[in-house]
């Protein structure tokens, strides 16, 4: 334990720190330390030190090391780093004697709060040990509460009793809420100290760690016996505590820095031992809570003749990436909120079987996913050969019977033509599909080049064009089939027409459609 090893100047320092202002802390023995103003990161840093507290010395219950955040709780959602120290090898047990770390409220019986603390680093060197735990996104306690009976306390539950130990708690605003995302690189080291008067100060170096931009670097070093210390330059002090309870077993110094650009940091402490001693050091990085999210867009294409060329996926109508027919692309750094994702570039033999576009909600720190499913078929048969140049079609008559019928007239050629269609709906309360838009009289013009053979037979033609009606306004139309089945046209000639969403088809009930293969 080295209890007898003390530096002459250390008791002065420790004595100053032991002027406790929190003797009523229910979560720790009375031997408390002062709670200096919290060191804070620079304004605007994504991670800020919210609260800290600590204790060194004997515990009322030798099987626990516990400390509360009195007088003020952290904020809900903070990350809490808890570094526990103990001296010697209790009951001859080496290694980490902490079974678990739990948090509690300072009420009678210390009810559990339930946040999960994970071990980050454990380091020991003979008579001194240090274990650092991390909990992220802590919940279920009064946010920044000051009620002495509602203070959040963190406790190490030991499987062997300790005579002397301590803990440093620090709570951090702005750390990523998921532990695996929050915790970055972490290292620990230990070593022997030599008298500074002979060899100069002993350097305690846990090892360099990489730190992401905006991330927190936290470092703590423990020395036994207590000694003067110089912490890593440009790091901000969290606390430096010593223990007078049991002959000044040791002292720790904890510091932090927030990296604006990211990189590597290698904190080092210079311990001015008056005699031989030991040191421990741990550093770790905590990543900032993300402010953006990612999106993975996946395509799944099935069927025949799946294309080999990429489709195009477009985000918010502005950012596009090629995407394989069966593949995925990622959009990163997206602002939280709704984003529109659209897929395009499908060949004519493929069609989307899922919604397009879709709206995806991005949550900071999370990766949203969306999948477009595409079904492909055999490529369409080659277009039929164009009809002979002199081929054209005329006709007129009636389609349908009863009270709802259509009359029409047509003249269609490869170079153009005219198309007249009148849908009759004498009954205003008709519920039929044909009369869903009511009566209309449509006047269309055949678009040059659209006149072609149709699929229904050798005497069938198709064409399309544009037109207007007073009732429907401007519309496009397609005569999918106009077939000359002979004379008379009734019951033999067939026509199928689409005008926007209007569709009608059938054999004529009067009139005639005549295919002319050549003019006289």
């Amino acid at each position: 334990m080295g209890k007898g090893r003390t530096l002459a100047r250390v008791p002065v320092l420790v004595g100053a720190t032991l002027v406790s202002a929190y003797c009523t802390d229910a979560a720790a023995p009375d031997r408390q330390v002062t709670h200096p103003l919290a060191a804070t990161a620079a304004a605007g840093d994504p991670i800020q030190l919210d609260q800290w507290n600590g204790t060194m010395g004997g515990q009322l219950d030798p099987l626990v090391i516990i400390k509360g955040f009195n007088p003020t709780n952290p904020h809900v959602g903070d990350a809490i780093i808890a570094t526990f120290f103990w001296f010697g090898t209790p009951s001859g047990v080496t290694g980490n004697i902490i079974d678990s770390v739990t948090d509690h409220l300072t009420q009678p019986g210390f009810p559990r709060v339930g946040n999960k603390y994970n071990l980050v680093e454990f380091v020991t060197n003979g008579n001194v040990s240090m274990a650092t735990y991390l909990a992220t996104n802590v919940q279920n306690f009064p946010d920044a509460g000051t009620d002495p009976t509602e203070i959040l306390a963190v406790r190490a539950n030991l499987h062997v009793p300790v005579v002397d130990g301590g803990v440093l708690l620090s709570a951090w605003i702005g750390v990523a809420s998921v532990a695996t995302q929050a915790l970055g690189e972490h290292r620990s080291a230990s070593g022997l100290g030599t008298p500074a008067s002979i060899t100069g100060p002993t350097t305690a170096d846990p090892g360099a760690i990489s730190v992401n931009a905006g991330a927190l670097a936290y470092g703590v070093s423990m020395a036994s016996p207590p000694a003067s210390v110089g912490g890593p330059p440009d790091w901000t002090s969290i606390a430096a505590l010593s223990d007078l309870f049991i002959s000044s077993d040791g002292r720790f110094d904890a510091r932090f820095t927030v990296s604006s650009t990211g990189g590597t940091t290698d904190p080092q402490w210079l311990w001015f031992f008056s005699a031989t001693g030991v040191w421990l050091a741990t550093d770790l990085a905590l990543n900032a809570a993300p402010t953006t999210g990612d999106l993975i867009v996946t395509t799944s294409t099935s069927g025949e003749n799946v294309p080999t060329n990429d489709y195009t996926v477009t985000l918010d109508g502005t950012t596009s990436q090629p995407i394989p027919p069966n593949g995925a692309v990622t959009f990163t750094g997206l602002q939280p909120g709704n984003h529109e994702v659209a897929l395009s570039g499908l060949p004519t033999n493929c069609e989307l079987t899922s919604a397009n576009p879709v709206t995806v909600t991005i949550v900071a720190g999370e990766t949203a996913t969306t999948t477009f499913t595409v079904s492909c078929s055999a490529p369409p048969p080659p277009p039929p050969p164009p009809p002979p140049a002199n081929d054209f079609m005329t006709g007129g008559g009636k389609l349908g019977s009863g009270r709802e019928f259509a009359t029409f007239g047509l003249e269609a050629r490869p170079t153009g033509g005219n198309f007249e269609w009148v849908q009759h709906c004498p009954d205003r309360n008709s519920t039929s599909a044909l009369c869903a838009r009511g009566k209309f009289a449509f006047h269309g013009t055949v678009t040059s080049g659209t006149y072609a053979d149709a699929s229904r037979g050798p005497n069938c033609r198709t064409w399309s064009g544009t037109g207007t009606s007073k009732e429907l306004g401007a519309s496009t139309f397609t005569v999918q089939q106009a077939c000359d089945g002979g004379q008379p046209g009734r019951g033999l000639d067939y026509i199928e027409v689409t005008i926007d969403s209007y569709h009608n088809a059938g054999y004529l009930s009067g009139g005639n459609i005549q295919l002319h293969r050549s003019t006289s």
């Binding site: 054209f392 005329t394 006709g395 007129g396 008559g397 009636k398 009863g402 009270r403 019928f405 009359t407 029409f408 007239g409 047509l410 003249e411 033509g417 005219n418 007249e420 009148v422 009759h424 004498p426 009566k439 009289a441 006047h443 007073k470 004379q487 008379p488 046209g489 009734r490 004529l508 009930s509 009067g510 009139g511 005639n512 005549q514 002319h516 293969r517 050549s518 003019t519 006289s520």
Partner: protein, 218 residues
Amino acid sequence: MSALVSNHRGLVALLVLSGGLAVPLGTAWGQSVAGQATAATVNTPAAGSQTFARATLPSAGGIQNSDLDNAGVPNTLGAAGLTSITTGQIDQGLVSVTASAEAADVNIENGLITAKQVLALATSYANGTTATSESNGSTVLNLVIAGVSYADGAPAPNTRVALPGVGYVVLNEQISSGDRVHSTSLTVKMIHVYLVNSLTGASAGEIVVGAATSTATL
């Protein structure tokens, strides 16, 4: 007409065989096509002669149409949605023509005759050996004459109904002509009102709603 056509053909054949006249064989003389559709006509001393929505097929064939939202002759005729279409073409082996004339919300002589919809449809074909005309598809919906309702559809051709004090009306009036071999023509007038002076018995004009004529000769 048919005799003249036959004479022309004989002359052409003779000249072709003798080498005296070069005429494309595909352009047979005597081919003709005609179509006319008139949605409504009023011809009375008071109103004069008025025609509403008439379409006449050009002699070379093609398509013609005419639309009119409303037609009105005070105390004589009211109608809406008047449309006439005629299409047809002369072909080497066939002449085909169709004419349709229609009107809605018909009111004749201040409600003496009313109809929701009137459609006259005439179609003619001629292929050189047969010439046929037909009126399939013609119809009248919600026809009421002097308070008497008639079934929807096409009345029997040339159905005559007296209109006391006014004259009479002929429903689905059909006038045919042609030799039915090389030529055919059909005029369909779905409602043809003959106005008669009740004192003198002389004609006082006519009102026609839905008149379609198709003529084909080959």
